[in-house]
Symmetry: C4
Subunit: 299 residues, 4 copies
């Protein structure tokens, strides 16, 4: 949210602190109220779709409009207290804010559109702004670090898997009768992924011995290779945790900045790192040599 | 169970030791007998619900009442030998003890209630009191530590997942025909979780190509992200294991900081680690050499 | 197989080497032939049960008897070349050897019993005798170590899970209509495990909203807690691997035998471990003190 | 692809660089164009099998032949610019190149064969030639290392699992009625694997209490033992990561052996690690002090 800056004026800055930050008590209260109303509105959208609650239809309708107006006003305030309102609309949360009220307005034209209101849930992501306690961020960072370092291995993994699935699936498509549900290769691929991920709906399942043999291959593959992303990610998390063991303050001698927290000498230039206490080597040497020598060993 | 203290009187204290502790042979015997009768009573509750055993109904009925009376008496004794009986009823096990006999009494009024008697199983948790061997506790602690340190990462993970599922599900709800079983958003969410967790009942499954495509997305997500809680937890368990085997304080001689807790000399440079007490070697040496020598052995 | 010793006589000892050991070329050939015939016999048992192969019935029947006689003879030879034949029959492989031929003989009395012949597969475990290459054993040991150290944590985990499942299941049993398939608590528990393990047959699935809500709880539980045994086991495997880093040769000073392979001083008594080269401390000290001193520092 | 060498002649060498390498801009463009056309052709093969697109049949037919001719020409060029064309046809990619055009030609004789064209996907493996960035290869190597070191443990694991499944399945085959779908042992094994891998189609599921009990055993087994390959693989990945970051040779000064590869001084005792070349500090010091001083700084 770097590009979000409050407007100059006094009251708007104050409003900014309440709406966009969560340091003051008032701001926290606002955030919590917002999140609760988001959850409530989502609940209503969901219940609205249940048949047995049809006779509450009017209530839902009113509540729905209530929340929509509420969020519309809130968005208005957000834009009002910003220096660059339009730029906010291009941020992740800006887009979500709009999406979260658009459907109701659209529903005036297109019926059924308000089911999309669940997108409001994304606004709950704001909750993490409250949860931003030190440790929490710390651990969040660990996860993010690990994901960053493992994502393209896992992507590589998924691509390979997809290729295998597509090839296996089309073989099964050739083997299995159309009646078994393998009416097309895409459908067969759907079956293949249902099988590999061990979901196994059973809406489509092979009936020929050969088809069943191949699907057994797919199952065992899916059952075994799950170890790969898990292993990679575990390793990365562990690496991240260990990374915490390193201090990033630079060595006074050579500036190298990845020493273990308890390192006493720089691993690159051998400089004594602990600046509070004197270097034992120097002390020893000092005792056994003429002072004239000390100057050039200060590196 | 800190707030559980025996009553003053002699016999009640003795009873307390038998019922609440498991050090003496008699106490152990009591615990085991209790657990066996708990398991037996649960088995009877379960079998009682099976149709083919209907003609054993009377036997089950009697046994059921037998166990109920037994546990009622036991609870009475527990309360009797305690200093503060009522406070016990507020503890975890106190509540369970009551819950485990309540249903039968209730069943006199509400039929079918005794199916709830399986809650008795929770009393089996007492078994861990017996298994409290050193190592066992130790490892238990490891798990608990790891869970404590990873629970809110895993919670964070589950919340994010839930949001994704709800949004995907309602999109599928819009796409899929009602006949396919997606009769409401909550139902669609039920389907979404069935799919993401790779359970895949198949009681509801998408029929439209687009719906199937989205469900494939959900499956692959569920299949991949399981790596996250697993990775986090593995890392925490490993950290716990390492934490308990090694002390973190660095060797004064060379700074090596991964000594096993029982190390007395640094395994790298042989320096005496226990700084409170003097190094036996130096002491010995000191006794047998001129003071002039001591300086260079201080490294 | 410690209690297996060859008979005294010459030829029988030679036979022993061929049948029970796998060092000589002949012994290896015997093992491989044995394993192939085991696999073949199992294949035949399996194919025999397939309807479309019914007309090969006679061939299967003959082959079946062929293998049975073969294995009977083999067992005879095994017993013949042993010092204590009867004791062998009490070993794991002895029992399996008998089980693997018994069904066919039994089938003369009880029809259908020969389906049990698949137990022959267990004899394939002998294959590991061939695979007993150094590394293989090494890694096998790692796994076994890890399993040994993690089994009761995993057992503890499974017990807790079972209790949760039973309790959840009986609640669902109370909620769901009998038509949905929840005809008894054991059946509900069957459903519960099908759900928790994310197998999800779909032969029984909840139909009431409340039932579906609870099953969602069960699914999420099953989906998350898989992280626990995985984490524990991963940690143990890693610990085993690290354990390889320790040498188990005892310290000459105090006999402590868990030093890291590259340790130079005993972490308990500070003795110099590397016996080939002299202790630098002693050397330094030796240079700076009267010889009279050296004797008592040899500890 | 070591046995692939360009032909001597000038133009063909140039062509070789474009087709087989990906260093020049032109070569990269060629690779990308190739991959896109591969993906496009696969997409067409898949869509071709969908009923609702039947009326695009002619278009698909033409496009299909277009791609086939394109790939045929490409293969021709590949062979043309090689020194040993026939040898290329024996390489992995050579075989795939042929397989990826063969089906269309075959389809002139055998109808439906072109469904096998999805094998073209394998050609996309060429993509990794483009992605061959340093880090990427590095991480790929990590995975491969880990797989190499864990594959026969995982194989051992799968074999054991298969044996257990086969034995359990044939017991269930004996118990369950044929109507439940357990018509033969192979079918029962198919069910067993569907269950153990937690896929759970539900096309075959036990109906007798005993059968359901055994399948519960299978489920719990499958649910628990997934921890084994995951644990093994995680451990290996972690080992690979650590192996590459640290050198194993111990510091001559203090024996600490977990220095990062680029360390020049021991981070514990400041000793110069690179034994080939002299320590710059000592050199400097040597130049500026009397020889009598050198002895005690050799520690």
């Amino acid at each position: 949210m770097s590009q979000i800056r409050p407007a100059k004026a006094g009251p708007r800055t104050r409003l900014f602190q309440i709406i966009f930050e969560s340091d003051t008590r008032l701001a926290k209260a606002f955030d919590i109220a917002l999140i609760l109303s988001i959850l409530a509105s989502v609940a209503i959208v969901m219940l609205d779709s249940v048949n047995r609650f049809k006779h509450y239809g009017d209530f839902f309708y009113i509540a729905e409009w209530g929340f929509t107006l509420l969020f519309t006003v809130e968005l208005g305030l957000r834009l009002y207290c910003l220096e660059r309102p339009l730029r906010y609309l291009t941020t992740f949360f800006g887009i979500i804010d709009v999406l979260s009220i658009l459907p109701t307005w659209l529903a005036l034209i297109i019926p059924g559109a308000q089911s999309l209101l669940v997108v409001r849930l994304l606004r709950v992501l704001r909750i993490f702004r409250i949860l931003r306690l030190m440790q929490f961020v710390g651990e969040g960072r660990l996860l993010v670090d690990a994901l960053k370092r493992s994502w393209h291995q896992i992507l590589l993994f998924l691509c390979t898997v997809m290729m295998i699935v597509i090839i296996f699936s089309s073989v099964v498509y050739l083997i299995e009768p159309r009646e078994a549900g393998f009416t097309s290769i895409p459908k067969a691929v759907y079956w293949g992924i249902v099988t590999l991920t061990t979901v196994g709906y059973g809406d489509i399942s092979p009936v020929t011995p050969l088809g069943q043999f191949i699907s057994v291959m797919v199952m065992l593959t899916g059952y075994s290779i799950i170890a790969i992303p898990t292993g990679v990610f575990s390793a990365e998390v562990i690496r991240s945790i260990r990374a915490e063991r390193y201090s990033d303050e630079a060595c006074p001698g050579c500036g190298y900045d990845r020493h273990e927290r308890n390192a006493r000498y720089c691993l690159r230039c051998g400089t004594w790192l602990n600046e509070e206490t004197p270097d034992p080597r120097k002390v020893r040497r000092a005792l056994s040599k003429p002072p004239s020598d000390r100057s050039d060993t200060d590196t």
